[in-house]
């Protein structure tokens, strides 16, 4: 079970609004892309969900449990994990230590070792470098590690912020293939921030389009890739008309 509900949520940094009155729900097992131009509030939205930034108002719920006001560590215990923008792996820890940081919240200690083996099967390069400092990994390997680290918390809902940032296109393909496989295997609910609507359309799923901190579109990613709505979101209405 992992149904996410966002109701009327706003986020402000000081007086600067980052997100205003955003409302949507995500069903269990769904794959949702969040797209939009820089400054649209995509990262702020993910950070609000996982408790890294406070909401100014509104309500965030997972399976009916209200997340607002809970600490990030309490939210993680509800089965929600974040793979942040820029990976944020622990560079001074080894690869395997990175995988183990998030296992402290699990009650099923017995299967942790099997889970680590499973991660190593999905990402053989991580097994090869398990005792290396994670800071020495390449960008693509760090992205794999960040995903693996998130999975080790045994989540029901996974938030992934710009997994393609700074990676070569063939590596991005690999990252998405892995994410989709993991989702199918584990029945994860997956929310991915992705700048490239073309990429989202290829992977497939629902897409939420943000602009200026508000939802301006919600529907099938494949349909979005062809519509004018996307251009409007990125360039504003006038420019979009010019572009046509």
């Amino acid at each position: 079970m992992s149904k996410l509900g966002i109701f009327d949520v706003a986020v402000r940094y000081g007086k600067v609004p980052a997100l205003s009155d955003v409302t949507f729900t995500v069903e269990e097992g769904e794959r949702l892309f969040i797209s939009g131009p820089n400054g649209a509030g995509k990262s702020s939205l993910l950070k609000a969900i996982c408790g890294a930034v406070a909401t100014a108002h509104g309500r965030i719920e997972v399976d009916g449990v209200v997340l607002n006001g809970r600490t990030p560590e309490a939210i993680a215990r509800l089965g929600l994990t974040m793979v942040p923008e820029g990976r944020e792996i622990f560079g001074t820890l080894t690869v395997e230590e990175n995988l183990r940081v998030g296992t402290g919240i699990r009650r099923d200690k017995a299967v942790i070792e099997t889970d680590i083996d499973e991660i190593y099967q999905s990402f053989p390069i991580l097994k090869e470098r398990r005792n290396a400092n994670a800071g020495a990994l390449s960008g693509g390997q760090q992205q794999m590690l960040a995903i693996g680290r998130g999975l080790m918390t045994n989540p029901k809902l996974m938030l992934v912020d710009e997994p393609s940032l700074g990676l070569a296109p063939n590596i991005v393909d690999q990252v998405y293939e892995t994410l989709v496989n993991l989702q199918n295997d584990r029945g994860l609910t997956l929310i991915i921030v992705e700048q490239s609507s073309a990429r989202a359309a290829r992977v497939g799923g629902r897409m939420l389009l943000l602009r200026g901190g508000a939802v301006v579109g919600d529907g099938d990613a494949a349909k979005f890739a062809e519509s004018d709505l996307l251009k409007e979101a990125y360039f504003g209405q006038d420019q979009a008309e010019d572009a046509i």
């Binding site: 890294a52 993680a76 622990f90 800071g135 680290r149």
Partner: protein, 304 residues
């Protein structure tokens, strides 16, 4: 007389004290970016915990009367307790404050502790004799070394090894290292902020107690100002070591100890009283050359 082994033992034992004090500061800085200037006062507090509270000039042993096997663990617990209490009553309420604001409150807290000691014990330094037999010289490699120096060196080794094992091999150690590198990310993975910070303060306070025991045995004096000087050196060691780096703090502690002993031993007699001026000149030069510290942690920026 053999001067070289003598110097070596002096350097290692002085460096060991600095290293332990620097570790106490680096541990807390690592997890919450707080330079805790009250650390020196934790040391003084632990020293005074050994004697009966009174403003009399003559110190009467209280905890100091207990056998070592009770005295040592109890004093370590007292150190841990005052550090944890200061986190609970002061720093916990400043989690979102700037590092500068936290640092200034740590100064304030230090003054509060110092003035509390002043009220209870008066400002007069008191002679106390803890384990005087440890100042008996023993003969090592042709040099006459106080037994205490050897104990200090062994204690430092024990502390560093225990701390390294704790950080490397235990769950709380893993969480502390993760939190020291990226606190928010660690919390997003379910690491409890309060547990990690309380753990760091407890360890830091226990280290202050260890330093207190060594200082009081060595000097035979309880003085409410005794934490200030060592706190200053320890802070410099953590900066030179690269703020946030535990191995750096230990290495820089030993380095400062060694340099002061060498300066003391080799400076011409007439300038020897100004030893600290030379020492701090070297500190300034080292910071000009390596502003991030001699042992700054390697860059952990994500690679693209």
């Amino acid at each position: 007389m053999n001067a070289i082994p003598q110097l070596l033992f002096d350097a290692l034992s002085l460096g060991g004290i600095y290293a332990m004090a620097a570790l106490g500061i680096a541990l807390i800085f690592g997890v919450m970016k707080l330079v805790n200037f009250a650390h020196g006062e934790y040391i003084a507090f632990c020293v005074f915990a050994l004697i009966v509270p009174s403003t009399d000039a003559v110190a009467v042993m209280f905890l100091g009367k207990a056998p070592a096997i009770i005295l040592i663990p109890v004093l370590l617990l007292i150190g841990a307790a005052i550090a944890v209490a200061s986190e609970f009553f002061v720093f916990r309420h400043m989690r979102n404050a700037t590092p500068v604001a936290m640092m200034i409150s740590s100064f304030a807290l230090g003054f509060v502790i110092q003035n509390t000691l002043l009220l209870i014990y008066s400002s007069r330094p008191k002679a106390i004799s803890l384990w005087p037999e440890l100042n008996q010289p023993v003969s090592v490699a042709g040099a006459s070394i106080p037994l205490l120096q050897i104990i200090v060196i062994l204690t430092t080794l024990l502390v560093v090894v225990t701390l390294a094992l704790l950080l490397k091999r235990t769950r709380i150690g893993l969480e502390m290292r993760a939190a020291a590198e990226n606190f928010t990310m660690a919390r997003l993975l379910g690491v409890r902020a309060n547990a990690v910070i309380t753990g760091a303060f407890a360890l830091s306070g226990a280290l202050a107690a260890a330093v207190a025991l060594i200082m009081v045995t060595q000097t035979g004096v309880a003085d409410i100002r005794m934490g200030g000087q060592i706190m200053l050196v320890a802070f410099i060691a953590t900066v030179i070591g690269g703020l946030g780096s535990l191995p750096g703090a230990v290495a820089a502690g030993f380095l400062i100890g060694a340099v002061s002993v060498i300066l003391q031993g080799f400076l011409p007699l007439e300038v020897r009283p100004f030893r600290d001026a030379f020492l701090y000149t070297l500190v300034i030069i080292s910071l000009l050359l390596r502003p991030n510290g001699l042992f700054a942690p390697k860059s952990t920026k994500p690679r693209v």
